[in-house]
Protein backbone atom coordinates (compact mmCIF):
# COMPACT_ATOMS: atom_id res chain seq x y z
CA UNK A 1 0.00 0.00 0.00
CA UNK A 2 1.23 3.45 -0.75
CA UNK A 3 -0.47 6.54 0.52
CA UNK A 4 -0.42 10.05 1.81
CA UNK A 5 -2.01 12.17 4.50
CA UNK A 6 -3.91 15.22 3.31
CA UNK A 7 -6.44 17.87 4.11
CA UNK A 8 -9.82 18.27 2.44
CA UNK A 9 -9.95 21.78 0.97
CA UNK A 10 -13.36 21.86 -0.69
CA UNK A 11 -15.27 20.99 -3.79
CA UNK A 12 -15.53 22.44 -7.27
CA UNK A 13 -16.49 21.23 -10.73
CA UNK A 14 -15.45 21.57 -14.33
CA UNK A 15 -16.60 20.57 -17.80
CA UNK A 16 -14.84 17.67 -19.48
CA UNK A 17 -14.20 17.49 -23.22
CA UNK A 18 -17.72 16.25 -23.94
CA UNK A 19 -19.27 19.08 -21.91
CA UNK A 20 -20.27 16.95 -18.93
CA UNK A 21 -19.85 18.54 -15.51
CA UNK A 22 -17.42 16.58 -13.36
CA UNK A 23 -17.77 17.31 -9.62
CA UNK A 24 -14.48 16.98 -7.80
CA UNK A 25 -12.85 17.45 -4.41
CA UNK A 26 -9.66 19.42 -3.90
CA UNK A 27 -7.27 17.78 -1.44
CA UNK A 28 -4.01 19.27 -0.23
CA UNK A 29 -1.84 16.19 0.23
CA UNK A 30 1.60 16.06 1.74
CA UNK A 31 4.46 16.62 1.66
CA UNK A 32 4.70 14.00 4.40
CA UNK A 33 7.82 12.98 6.30
CA UNK A 34 8.79 9.42 7.20
CA UNK A 35 9.07 9.50 11.00
CA UNK A 36 9.48 5.77 11.64
CA UNK A 37 10.40 2.71 9.62
CA UNK A 38 9.11 -0.58 11.00
CA UNK A 39 10.66 -3.81 9.80
CA UNK A 40 9.94 -7.50 10.27
CA UNK A 41 13.09 -7.94 12.38
CA UNK A 42 12.36 -5.19 14.89
CA UNK A 43 8.57 -4.88 14.92
CA UNK A 44 7.26 -8.10 13.37
CA UNK A 45 5.83 -6.38 10.29
CA UNK A 46 6.84 -3.95 7.55
CA UNK A 47 5.40 -0.45 7.66
CA UNK A 48 6.35 3.19 7.60
CA UNK A 49 4.93 6.02 9.64
CA UNK A 50 4.15 9.30 7.87
CA UNK A 51 3.69 12.70 9.51
CA UNK A 52 1.84 15.70 8.09
CA UNK A 53 0.99 19.33 8.93
CA UNK A 54 3.31 21.47 11.07
CA UNK A 55 2.50 22.43 14.63
CA UNK A 56 4.20 24.52 17.29
CA UNK A 57 6.95 22.94 19.33
CA UNK A 58 5.47 24.21 22.61
CA UNK A 59 2.27 22.31 21.80
CA UNK A 60 4.25 19.07 21.50
CA UNK A 61 5.11 16.77 24.38
CA UNK A 62 8.79 16.11 25.14
CA UNK A 63 8.41 12.48 24.10
CA UNK A 64 7.00 13.43 20.69
CA UNK A 65 9.62 16.17 20.23
CA UNK A 66 12.27 13.46 20.55
CA UNK A 67 10.41 11.27 18.06
CA UNK A 68 10.35 14.05 15.45
CA UNK A 69 13.96 15.00 16.17
CA UNK A 70 15.06 11.48 15.30
CA UNK A 71 13.57 11.91 11.83
CA UNK A 72 15.13 15.35 11.53
CA UNK A 73 11.87 17.22 11.16
CA UNK A 74 9.74 19.71 13.08
CA UNK A 75 6.68 18.60 15.08
CA UNK A 76 3.68 17.47 13.02
CA UNK A 77 0.01 17.30 13.80
CA UNK A 78 -0.94 13.92 12.43
CA UNK A 79 0.86 10.57 12.25
CA UNK A 80 -0.34 7.53 10.34
CA UNK A 81 1.15 4.15 9.63
CA UNK A 82 1.12 2.63 6.15
CA UNK A 83 1.86 -1.08 5.92
CA UNK A 84 4.16 -2.42 3.17
CA UNK A 85 4.65 1.05 1.65
CA UNK A 86 5.52 0.69 -2.03
CA UNK A 87 7.14 -2.71 -1.65
CA UNK A 88 10.61 -2.80 -3.10
CA UNK A 89 11.20 0.92 -2.67
CA UNK A 90 13.12 1.32 0.55
CA UNK A 91 12.12 4.43 2.47
CA UNK A 92 14.37 5.69 5.22
CA UNK A 93 13.87 7.95 8.21
CA UNK A 94 13.32 11.60 7.28
CA UNK A 95 12.41 10.95 3.65
CA UNK A 96 9.84 13.26 2.07
CA UNK A 97 6.78 11.73 0.40
CA UNK A 98 4.62 13.92 -1.81
CA UNK A 99 1.86 13.73 -4.42
CA UNK A 100 4.21 12.06 -6.91
CA UNK A 101 3.35 8.67 -5.35
CA UNK A 102 0.07 8.84 -7.28
CA UNK A 103 -0.62 9.06 -11.00
CA UNK A 104 -3.33 10.98 -12.80
CA UNK A 105 -6.27 8.80 -13.75
CA UNK A 106 -5.64 6.03 -11.24
CA UNK A 107 -8.13 4.87 -8.62
CA UNK A 108 -7.46 5.32 -4.93
CA UNK A 109 -9.28 4.94 -1.61
CA UNK A 110 -9.89 7.92 0.68
CA UNK A 111 -10.43 7.59 4.43
CA UNK A 112 -11.95 10.40 6.45
CA UNK A 113 -14.13 11.15 9.45
CA UNK A 114 -17.70 11.86 8.36
CA UNK A 115 -19.51 15.03 9.37
CA UNK A 116 -21.13 14.74 12.82
CA UNK A 117 -24.92 14.65 12.63
CA UNK A 118 -25.74 14.60 16.36
CA UNK A 119 -28.57 12.49 17.81
CA UNK A 120 -30.63 11.29 14.87
CA UNK A 121 -33.74 9.17 14.42
CA UNK A 122 -33.89 5.89 12.56
CA UNK A 123 -34.98 7.40 9.24
CA UNK A 124 -31.80 9.44 8.83
CA UNK A 125 -29.49 7.12 10.76
CA UNK A 126 -30.48 3.73 9.33
CA UNK A 127 -32.47 4.63 6.24
CA UNK A 128 -35.84 3.41 7.60
CA UNK A 129 -38.67 4.28 5.26
CA UNK A 130 -40.95 5.96 7.81
CA UNK A 131 -44.70 6.07 7.27
CA UNK A 132 -45.85 7.97 4.24
CA UNK A 133 -49.57 7.59 4.88
CA UNK A 134 -51.72 10.40 6.19
CA UNK A 135 -54.61 8.02 6.85
CA UNK A 136 -54.89 4.49 8.32
CA UNK A 137 -54.59 5.81 11.87
CA UNK A 138 -51.38 7.79 11.37
CA UNK A 139 -50.97 11.17 12.87
CA UNK A 140 -47.61 11.70 14.50
CA UNK A 141 -45.85 8.38 13.80
CA UNK A 142 -44.30 9.36 10.45
CA UNK A 143 -40.65 8.87 11.46
CA UNK A 144 -41.12 6.39 14.33
CA UNK A 145 -39.13 3.11 14.26
CA UNK A 146 -42.18 0.82 14.67
CA UNK A 147 -41.93 -2.48 16.51
CA UNK A 148 -38.56 -3.39 18.00
CA UNK A 149 -39.43 -7.02 18.71
CA UNK A 150 -41.98 -9.58 19.93
CA UNK A 151 -43.54 -9.82 23.43
CA UNK A 152 -43.22 -12.56 26.06
CA UNK A 153 -40.85 -14.48 23.89
CA UNK A 154 -38.02 -13.39 23.83
CA UNK A 155 -38.98 -10.77 26.48
CA UNK A 156 -36.04 -8.64 25.49
CA UNK A 157 -34.77 -6.52 22.63
CA UNK A 158 -32.15 -8.24 20.52
CA UNK A 159 -28.65 -6.85 20.53
CA UNK A 160 -27.82 -4.72 17.54
CA UNK A 161 -31.45 -3.58 17.06
CA UNK A 162 -31.23 -0.45 14.93
CA UNK A 163 -32.50 2.50 16.94
CA UNK A 164 -32.07 6.27 17.20
CA UNK A 165 -28.73 7.59 18.44
CA UNK A 166 -25.59 9.44 17.56
CA UNK A 167 -24.92 9.62 13.85
CA UNK A 168 -21.87 10.69 11.86
CA UNK A 169 -18.32 11.46 13.10
CA UNK A 170 -17.30 7.97 12.03
CA UNK A 171 -14.36 6.67 10.07
CA UNK A 172 -15.56 6.24 6.49
CA UNK A 173 -13.60 4.82 3.59
CA UNK A 174 -14.58 5.67 0.04
CA UNK A 175 -13.15 3.18 -2.42
CA UNK A 176 -12.17 3.53 -6.08
CA UNK A 177 -12.17 7.30 -6.44
CA UNK A 178 -10.48 8.50 -9.59
CA UNK A 179 -7.68 11.04 -9.51
CA UNK A 180 -8.61 13.74 -12.03
CA UNK A 181 -5.52 15.90 -11.76
CA UNK A 182 -2.36 16.28 -9.72
CA UNK A 183 -0.85 19.72 -9.19
CA UNK A 184 2.50 18.97 -7.62
CA UNK A 185 3.59 22.64 -7.42
CA UNK A 186 0.85 23.31 -4.82
CA UNK A 187 0.60 19.71 -3.49
CA UNK A 188 -2.99 19.46 -4.67
CA UNK A 189 -4.89 16.37 -5.77
CA UNK A 190 -8.25 16.57 -7.50
CA UNK A 191 -10.51 13.59 -6.90
CA UNK A 192 -13.67 12.88 -8.82
CA UNK A 193 -16.70 12.89 -6.54
CA UNK A 194 -17.00 13.62 -2.85
CA UNK A 195 -14.88 12.67 0.13
CA UNK A 196 -16.09 12.12 3.74
CA UNK A 197 -15.76 14.90 6.31
CA UNK A 198 -16.00 18.68 6.52
CA UNK A 199 -13.63 21.03 4.69
CA UNK A 200 -10.32 21.30 6.52
CA UNK A 201 -10.48 17.78 7.97
CA UNK A 202 -7.68 15.27 7.56
CA UNK A 203 -8.02 12.49 5.02
CA UNK A 204 -5.84 9.52 4.21
CA UNK A 205 -5.26 8.61 0.59
CA UNK A 206 -4.42 4.98 -0.07
CA UNK A 207 -3.60 2.91 -3.09
CA UNK A 208 -3.72 -0.86 -2.72
CA UNK A 209 -1.67 -2.49 -5.40
Amino acid sequence: MSGLIGKKIGMTSFHDASGKIIPCTVIEAGPCVVTQVKTKQTDGYDAIQLAYDDKKEKRTSKAMQGHFKKAGTGPKRILREFSRFEEGHQKSLGDKVDVDVFLEGEFIDVVGTSKGKGFQGVVKRHGFKGVNDATHGQHNRGRAPGSIGASSYPSRVFKGMRMAGHDGSQRVKMINLQIVKIMSDKNLILIKGSVPGPNGSYVILERWK
Binding site: G10, T12, S13, H15, A17, V26, M183, L188
Partner: protein
Protein backbone atom coordinates in the same frame (compact mmCIF):
# COMPACT_ATOMS: atom_id res chain seq x y z
CA UNK B 1 -2.60 30.00 0.81
CA UNK B 2 -6.02 29.63 2.34
CA UNK B 3 -8.71 27.20 1.23
CA UNK B 4 -10.48 29.61 -1.14
CA UNK B 5 -7.24 30.51 -2.90
CA UNK B 6 -6.34 26.85 -3.33
CA UNK B 7 -9.71 26.04 -4.88
CA UNK B 8 -9.40 29.03 -7.21
CA UNK B 9 -5.93 27.85 -8.19
CA UNK B 10 -7.27 24.37 -8.98
CA UNK B 11 -10.08 25.86 -11.07
CA UNK B 12 -7.63 27.96 -13.05
CA UNK B 13 -5.75 24.79 -13.96
CA UNK B 14 -8.89 23.05 -15.21
CA UNK B 15 -11.05 25.74 -16.76
CA UNK B 16 -9.93 27.66 -19.81
CA UNK B 17 -10.72 31.30 -19.16
CA UNK B 18 -13.03 32.75 -21.81
CA UNK B 19 -13.20 36.36 -22.83
CA UNK B 20 -16.84 37.35 -22.64
CA UNK B 21 -17.99 40.95 -22.50
CA UNK B 22 -19.09 42.15 -19.07
CA UNK B 23 -22.85 42.05 -18.64
CA UNK B 24 -25.28 42.12 -15.74
CA UNK B 25 -28.93 41.56 -14.94
CA UNK B 26 -31.23 43.58 -17.20
CA UNK B 27 -28.95 43.43 -20.22
CA UNK B 28 -30.14 41.85 -23.47
CA UNK B 29 -27.64 39.30 -24.71
CA UNK B 30 -27.30 36.80 -27.54
CA UNK B 31 -25.64 33.49 -26.71
CA UNK B 32 -24.07 31.44 -29.46
CA UNK B 33 -24.62 27.86 -28.33
CA UNK B 34 -22.97 24.91 -30.03
CA UNK B 35 -25.27 22.01 -30.84
CA UNK B 36 -24.17 18.59 -32.08
CA UNK B 37 -26.65 16.60 -34.14
CA UNK B 38 -25.26 13.22 -35.09
CA UNK B 39 -21.80 14.23 -36.22
CA UNK B 40 -22.81 17.65 -37.51
CA UNK B 41 -22.20 20.75 -35.48
CA UNK B 42 -24.09 23.99 -35.76
CA UNK B 43 -24.51 27.14 -33.73
CA UNK B 44 -27.83 28.22 -32.29
CA UNK B 45 -28.47 31.71 -31.03
CA UNK B 46 -30.52 32.42 -27.91
CA UNK B 47 -31.45 36.03 -27.30
CA UNK B 48 -33.03 37.30 -24.11
CA UNK B 49 -32.73 39.36 -20.96
CA UNK B 50 -30.27 38.32 -18.24
CA UNK B 51 -32.17 37.63 -15.02
CA UNK B 52 -29.26 36.83 -12.76
CA UNK B 53 -25.63 35.87 -12.58
CA UNK B 54 -24.95 33.28 -9.91
CA UNK B 55 -21.99 31.34 -8.62
CA UNK B 56 -18.36 32.15 -9.15
CA UNK B 57 -15.24 30.67 -10.64
CA UNK B 58 -15.79 27.41 -12.49
CA UNK B 59 -19.39 27.19 -11.26
CA UNK B 60 -20.54 30.58 -12.56
CA UNK B 61 -23.85 30.52 -14.45
CA UNK B 62 -26.27 33.09 -15.83
CA UNK B 63 -30.00 32.86 -16.50
CA UNK B 64 -31.48 34.30 -19.69
CA UNK B 65 -35.23 34.82 -20.23
CA UNK B 66 -37.06 35.42 -23.44
CA UNK B 67 -40.67 35.27 -24.62
CA UNK B 68 -41.09 32.70 -27.35
CA UNK B 69 -44.53 32.31 -28.94
CA UNK B 70 -46.09 34.01 -25.92
CA UNK B 71 -44.46 31.55 -23.55
CA UNK B 72 -41.68 32.62 -21.22
CA UNK B 73 -38.53 30.54 -21.72
CA UNK B 74 -35.60 30.62 -19.32
CA UNK B 75 -32.26 29.01 -19.89
CA UNK B 76 -29.31 28.67 -17.56
CA UNK B 77 -25.87 28.81 -19.19
CA UNK B 78 -22.69 27.74 -17.34
CA UNK B 79 -20.04 30.31 -18.25
CA UNK B 80 -17.30 27.68 -18.47
CA UNK B 81 -19.32 25.28 -20.64
CA UNK B 82 -17.51 24.35 -23.87
CA UNK B 83 -20.84 24.68 -25.70
CA UNK B 84 -21.15 28.39 -25.04
CA UNK B 85 -19.23 29.81 -28.00
CA UNK B 86 -19.76 33.51 -27.59
CA UNK B 87 -21.88 36.08 -25.78
CA UNK B 88 -22.93 39.32 -27.44
CA UNK B 89 -24.37 42.23 -25.50
CA UNK B 90 -27.14 43.84 -27.53
CA UNK B 91 -28.57 46.30 -25.02
CA UNK B 92 -27.61 47.62 -21.61
CA UNK B 93 -30.64 47.84 -19.33
CA UNK B 94 -31.27 50.06 -16.34
CA UNK B 95 -32.31 47.92 -13.36
CA UNK B 96 -31.89 48.52 -9.65
CA UNK B 97 -31.26 44.98 -8.48
CA UNK B 98 -28.86 42.19 -9.39
CA UNK B 99 -31.60 39.55 -9.67
CA UNK B 100 -34.64 40.74 -11.58
CA UNK B 101 -37.12 37.91 -10.96
CA UNK B 102 -39.96 40.46 -10.84
CA UNK B 103 -39.79 40.34 -14.63
CA UNK B 104 -41.48 36.91 -14.55
CA UNK B 105 -44.71 38.44 -13.29
CA UNK B 106 -44.76 41.14 -15.96
CA UNK B 107 -46.15 40.80 -19.48
CA UNK B 108 -46.15 42.91 -22.59
CA UNK B 109 -45.39 46.62 -22.26
CA UNK B 110 -44.79 46.34 -18.51
CA UNK B 111 -41.94 43.87 -19.08
CA UNK B 112 -39.83 46.47 -20.85
CA UNK B 113 -36.52 47.56 -19.39
CA UNK B 114 -35.23 51.09 -19.91
CA UNK B 115 -32.07 51.23 -21.99
CA UNK B 116 -28.95 52.73 -20.51
CA UNK B 117 -27.82 55.92 -22.21
CA UNK B 118 -24.18 56.86 -22.18
Amino acid sequence: MNKGELIRYAEEQLVATKQFPVFKAGDTVTIKYKITEGNKERIQAFQGIVLQISGKGANKTFTVRKISNNIGVERIFPVSSPFVEAVEVNKRGVVRRSRIFYLRQLRGKKARIKEKKY
